[in-house]
Point group: none
Chain length 209, copies 4
Amino acid sequence: MEYSEKQLAIINAAEKLFALRGFDGASVRDIAHEADVNVAMISYYFGSKEKLMEAVFEERTNNIRLKVENLLQNEGISHLQKVNILIDDYVDKFIHQQEFHKIMIREQMIEKDTPIAGLIHELKKKNLESITKLIEDGQASGSFKKNIDIVLMMTTLVGTVCQMITSQHFYRKVNKLEYMTEIEFQKHMRKTLSVHLKNLFKQILTNEA
Amino acid sequence: MEYSEKQLAIINAAEKLFALRGFDGASVRDIAHEADVNVAMISYYFGSKEKLMEAVFEERTNNIRLKVENLLQNEGISHLQKVNILIDDYVDKFIHQQEFHKIMIREQMIEKDTPIAGLIHELKKKNLESITKLIEDGQASGSFKKNIDIVLMMTTLVGTVCQMITSQHFYRKVNKLEYMTEIEFQKHMRKTLSVHLKNLFKQILTNEA
Amino acid sequence: MEYSEKQLAIINAAEKLFALRGFDGASVRDIAHEADVNVAMISYYFGSKEKLMEAVFEERTNNIRLKVENLLQNEGISHLQKVNILIDDYVDKFIHQQEFHKIMIREQMIEKDTPIAGLIHELKKKNLESITKLIEDGQASGSFKKNIDIVLMMTTLVGTVCQMITSQHFYRKVNKLEYMTEIEFQKHMRKTLSVHLKNLFKQILTNEA
Amino acid sequence: MEYSEKQLAIINAAEKLFALRGFDGASVRDIAHEADVNVAMISYYFGSKEKLMEAVFEERTNNIRLKVENLLQNEGISHLQKVNILIDDYVDKFIHQQEFHKIMIREQMIEKDTPIAGLIHELKKKNLESITKLIEDGQASGSFKKNIDIVLMMTTLVGTVCQMITSQHFYRKVNKLEYMTEIEFQKHMRKTLSVHLKNLFKQILTNEA
DNA sequence: CATGAATGAGTGTTCATTCAT
DNA sequence: TATGAATGAACACTCATTCAT
């Protein structure tokens, strides 16, 4: 699907406002105003508010999947290094696409069987499969422990990053990091999360500390 | 604040629907219908939809704080055991009050300076202070490592539990646990999270694996 | 009709708020609060909000009719003096019962055939009849001119006083009488209107200036 | 401000119903129905019910001010004739814009400091200034008496016309003028008021009868 | 292709009134 | 008799969407 400049403006505005106020809290009027287009354009281009949300998802999930395919075949690096690369990749994606991920967090909680719920499920399943391959590879080679609850491990990965995103104001205040610019703080979060999660994963996956 | 039976019915219904659909997604008519009361009762009892949300928060946060005070003085158990008790306490609270915690997750993301944002901030700050005391106690006695990023550690605790809650359907499906009753599955989650988090914390806090 | 203390409190509160905000602008809750009684009392005592309005009317129109009967028979004073007494009486009544008269002004404009419209019509008719007798008496004795449009004359009397009441803020400001207390200003209005209207009536009724 | 046909329909309907039932007594649904437009159009065009009221005022007060400027400079007519022209002008305006003037009467009585209260005050002040000039001109030339309470005089003018408007049903009934058409009756009122007020003013302003 | 105007359903809230005690 | 609780209808207003051009 190729979108025009105006359509992309709408998608960007929608992502921002959906993240900030939730689906119901963001009105199509607000979105249209934010995107600097006529209100009618949203129905005109996307059919409905719900379809716009789906478009946001499709647009943002295109390149969101973890790039694990090439990684698997690369024999020059250790299995743990591969996992570490994946962690960095994931943290980066999350921090750079905070707004979209906020939407995901919200939508995950809704129990309705919407098309979006399906998209999220699909995405998570594929990510899980990629990781599983990587882990099983490491287990086969003896690098990783047996009996690893991969879903639980992923829950800690995703959960820690999510929580850091949703409560970043609190984290910043408590640690007195208000002096940083937004970008500096993002780098700080990125580094901190990276080190922290690599340590955790090393412990989960291997027997060493 | 003491609430009547009807008021509690409204609070319960509101908690459920706010958790499921978000504040804007849940209409007062829906809530009234769920609570089996007249729509006007909500304004009558709580003044407004916003005030109802605040009532939900006040009602649910009354007993939500971690019971760390008595724990600190108990000298019969090790510092790590104290932390483990706290983890169990936290996991229990979260699982038994899933719906309220979903609301908290949602509200955390909104950047507006609402009274509720203040309540959440206060709650997190107090919990953090409690934990900090416990950890510093352990550090002073040499049981725990120095240089522990407590906020980050808490982020992993809260994040992992949150993520488990929000994606429990996915977790259940992938692990083929649909055969369990809701209560059995909750027990399973509780146990799994408890063991997992205790392991992680042991690694974070001490030098042993 | 005898009213209890509470009923009178309600009637007084209703008069005040109906005058200030109009019938629809004053809620029964406001009235109950102003009267310091339970909301349900209003329906309980008076049946409905409309009936309360009627009660206000009945209560206030009991003694509002011009006391012309005795005046007619008094042969010690001239016809013009009798008219002047009536003018003073009318001005006094209006100024001391400003609030009720404001309600009357409002209700007069509604075209619906309410019981209140009937009460107002009746009151005006009786007042007109009283005046007419007095004027015709004066005409018979040769004191007053023939061909006097009594209704039109009364329109000027009532209209001037009404207008003074409704625009008293404007009158006070323009004439820089803010330094007066409320009571002083009422006395001032009373005197000014009295002199002014007596002059006008003298001109209308007689041939002298 | 230029209004579309639909907007004018709304303004006309609002004027009618506000005059008849007062601001609070006239619902936006009634107004929309009277104007034969969708309820939402009122918010769409005017923003709110209050803003609609303001629009009614702005629309109706555009040409409502007394045309005294040219009159002052005209040297071919006497001062009293000028006053008489003004009286006719005023009576005409009032009778032709009865409904709007009813709104003014109602709004005048509310003590709140609304934008509309300000508009009314401004209008009355300007009208008063115009009249004052005219009167002072006449006084300077010796045509009019000294020591005239102009505000009081205007109170009689405005009050008499107001009262005639608000109680026209009574006037008509008492004088047995029901046989007239609405327009005939309006002409009758116009003529009657004109003669009556000119007489009164002549007496107030000059020494002759 | 694009848009201002328009719509009907829905929002949270307040209303006068009635109910149960 | 007196009242807190409760009700259904109505309130002004906003919503996502559609229409006419």
